[in-house]
Structures are given as structure tokens and as C-alpha cells.
């Protein structure tokens, strides 16, 4: 990896961003965190991110909408879904829409790191 991977974390649970940011930055990534979907999409329209990690259930603009936006506009960006409301149905829906991976909460930063590494290695769709 010549270049630092740019990662966006979107979760209305502020603590998620607060903890993941230093944790991922220490692994050598550039991280930006957002607490709502709308500002995340606004940022995505200006800046290119390699990986978007997003929660699903959020008021107003939710993770699925972010996923749709990314797949439609910046298909090379990979989306990792993190959710507390994991179910077979939701997982399949997210994958169908083109999510790279689907992670159930609670997870450890290490679990996420593994997935990010996998995403970094994977050829962009």
C-alpha cells in the first residue's frame, strides 16, 4: 500500500466513531467519522473514500441509503455494514445492494481491522 487508505465511519452512536477513529488511525488509515447519513453523503460527494463503514439504523438517511448512494456514484468504494439489528434478511438485503461485508454489533476493533484488510486486498468491483 503506497497510499494511506481513506476510511469513513458513519454511526449515530457517537462512541463508535470516537473509538474507531484512533484505533484505525493507529493501524495506518485516514479516518473521518460522521454521526448522521446526510452529512456523510455530502462529504462523499466531495471526497473519495476507499472504504465506508456505516451503521444501518439511523434517523433520516440510513446506512442502506448510503450504500445505495455509494454503489450508484462511486462503485470503487467498498461499503462495510455494521449493525445491532443483524438478521439473515438484513444481511442478504445489504449484500444484494452491493455491500462488501456485513458485521453484527457488538464487534471488536480487531474484527473490523481484519475486514478492512480484506477489503483493501480485494479487487474493486
Amino acid at each position: 500500500m503506497n497510499q494511506k487508505l481513506k476510511i469513513m465511519v458513519v454511526d449515530d452512536e457517537a462512541i463508535v466513531g470516537k473509538r474507531l477513529k484512533p484505533s484505525l488511525e493507529s493501524s495506518g488509515y485516514t479516518v473521518e467519522t460522521f454521526g448522521d447519513g446526510r452529512s456523510a453523503i455530502a462529504r462523499l460527494s466531495k471526497e473519495r473514500f476507499d472504504i465506508v463503514i456505516t451503521d444501518v439504523r439511523m434517523d433520516d438517511v440510513d446506512g442502506m441509503q448510503i450504500l445505495e448512494y455509494v454503489r450508484a456514484n462511486i462503485p470503487q468504494t467498498k461499503v462495510i455494514i455494521i449493525t445491532g439489528y443483524a438478521s439473515v434478511d438484513l444481511a442478504r438485503r445489504a449484500l444484494d445492494k452491493g455491500a462488501f461485508d456485513f458485521i453484527a454489533k457488538p464487534f471488536k476493533p480487531g474484527d473490523l481491522r481484519t475486514v478492512i484488510e480484506k477489503a483493501a486486498r480485494a479487487p474493486s468491483a
Binding site: V88, A91, R92, R93, D96, D101, F102, I103, A104
Partner: protein, 258 residues
């Protein structure tokens, strides 16, 4: 990539389709061949395990303890094989215990047609009823319920080649891609089945749930040796690989449900 869990009302037909699908996709094929390994490892005649999966009716109450344990052993071995991706599994009742895994494609193949093999309508009904009963007793699930499957293939409407083609096409569906969540679910299932088959050596009524190394064991005990049983289960389950924490829910009394 997905795994296929194929169940059929007629074993040879299901096997043919599952095998062809595996071959077409280059997936690994798992079927009753694995029983040999289980038989050798636990010193059970392989024939008995075979019969157990074929039998239409559950055994009498006094044989149930062994029956349950043997089923659990099959379940444990099958789940272990399924942890590897790219697998087609058939003939091991996996559709009854691979549940809640989003990358497992659950397939039901129905080959009996209305005029099949001279069997009358009532015979077919009766057979289905037995099938239902068996799955309910063994895994508390109705295997004849189409809602349990991702796809139901009726050979009356399509032929085997077409069925294989359908399954091959499904494997490319991104909905069934393995993901962290679903792989973890499968791992949880595998661990819980491992713990359960271990505990079934000594206890009859055992239900196990696993969440990333945390094990919840539910059992029924008499009030008298409740504490002893709980301690014993904690020690036995705690020694199993992958288990980090054990919680035991022991129900007492006649009306207690697991």
C-alpha cells in the same frame, strides 16, 4: 461464496442433483461419506448412523438418549465441514440445523409427484406427516414447511438438469455471499453443536447456544443435584476448545420448559 444445504424427500434424487451442482461449481461435496469418520471416531456402527438418517420414525423413548447423541455427532461433524466455504451438503439433515446463516442456501427438492411410483395420494400425505414428525422430534423444526427454504424445486415442473442449472445460478447471487456476520453465525452453530454432543454423553436434555465463545447451556435437572449438575456442565463445557465463558440455565420441576 455460499454453501448449499440440500434436502430432498428422496435421497438418491437429492444426491444426484447436489452432486452435479457441486461438480458444476467446483465445490466440495459432503454427504453420508462423512459418517464413516464419525463411526470410527466414536465407535458406533456406521450402519446405525445411516439407518438413523433414513428412518421415518423416531425411536422409542428408551433409545432416544443414544439417538439424540448420534444425531448430535452427525450435526457436529457436518457443521465442521461446512465451516469451509464452497460446499454442497446433502443427506445429513443439515437443513434442520444450519439456521440463521445468510450465506447458506437452503434447498428443498420435491420429487414425489401426484402420480409418482404408484403411491396413492394418502400414502404421500402419510409419508409427509412422518417426515414432519421426525424433524420436529429431532430438531424441533418442520422440514416439510416450504417457508423454511430459500428455494423449493419441484421435479414435477422441471427436470434435474434444469434444477442443477438453477442452483448454479443461485451461487452467483450476491445475497448469498459469505460475510462476517454469517460466518460468525455458522461458527456459533458449530461450537454449540460441539458442546452439545459432548454434554449429551452425560445428560439427556441439553440445549446449547453460542455467541462467540460464550456458551449458554439449558438443561433440566432435579432440584436436588442442581448445583452439582451446573458445576459439572461448566467444567465440561469450559474445557472444550473455543469456549471462553459458560452460562448454565437449569430448569427444575415437571412443567419447566427448556
Amino acid at each position: 461464496m455460499p454453501i448449499f444445504v440440500v434436502s430432498a424427500d428422496a435421497y438418491p434424487i437429492g444426491r444426484r442433483i447436489a452432486e452435479k451442482t457441486a461438480a458444476a461449481l467446483g465445490y466440495r461435496y459432503i454427504d453420508r461419506e462423512i459418517l464413516e469418520g464419525i463411526a470410527a471416531k466414536h465407535d458406533i456402527p456406521e450402519e446405525r448412523l445411516n439407518r438413523l438418517l433414513d428412518a421415518a420414525t423416531p425411536p422409542a423413548q428408551i433409545f432416544k438418549k443414544n439417538w439424540r447423541r448420534q444425531l448430535a455427532l452427525i450435526q457436529e461433524a457436518t457443521l465442521d465441514k461446512l465451516l469451509a466455504d464452497h460446499v454442497v451438503c446433502h443427506g445429513l439433515a443439515a437443513h434442520l440445523y444450519v439456521l440463521g446463516v445468510s450465506h447458506a442456501i437452503r434447498v428443498r427438492i420435491i420429487s414425489t409427484t401426484d402420480k409418482a411410483a404408484g403411491a396413492s395420494q394418502t400414502d404421500a400425505k402419510q409419508l409427509e406427516q412422518l417426515c414432519r414428525q421426525w424433524s420436529l422430534t429431532a430438531f424441533d423444526m418442520d422440514q416439510t414447511d416450504p417457508a423454511q427454504y430459500d428455494t423449493v424445486i419441484r421435479l414435477a415442473e422441471t427436470d434435474e438438469t434444469e434444477a442443477v442449472r438453477t442452483l448454479v445460478a443461485m451461487s452467483a447471487d450476491s445475497r448469498f455471499r459469505a460475510n462476517t456476520f454469517s460466518v460468525n453465525c455458522l461458527k456459533d452453530l458449530e461450537l454449540s453443536s460441539r458442546v452439545r454432543s459432548q454434554l449429551l454423553k452425560d445428560y439427556t436434555n441439553i440445549k446449547v447456544e453460542a455467541h462467540k465463545g460464550t456458551i449458554i447451556v439449558r438443561t433440566r435437572v432435579s432440584r436436588r443435584n442442581r448445583n452439582k449438575v451446573i458445576e459439572d456442565i461448566k467444567i465440561k463445557a469450559g474445557n472444550i476448545e473455543g469456549v471462553s465463558f459458560v452460562e448454565v440455565h437449569a430448569a427444575s420441576g415437571l412443567l419447566a420448559r427448556l
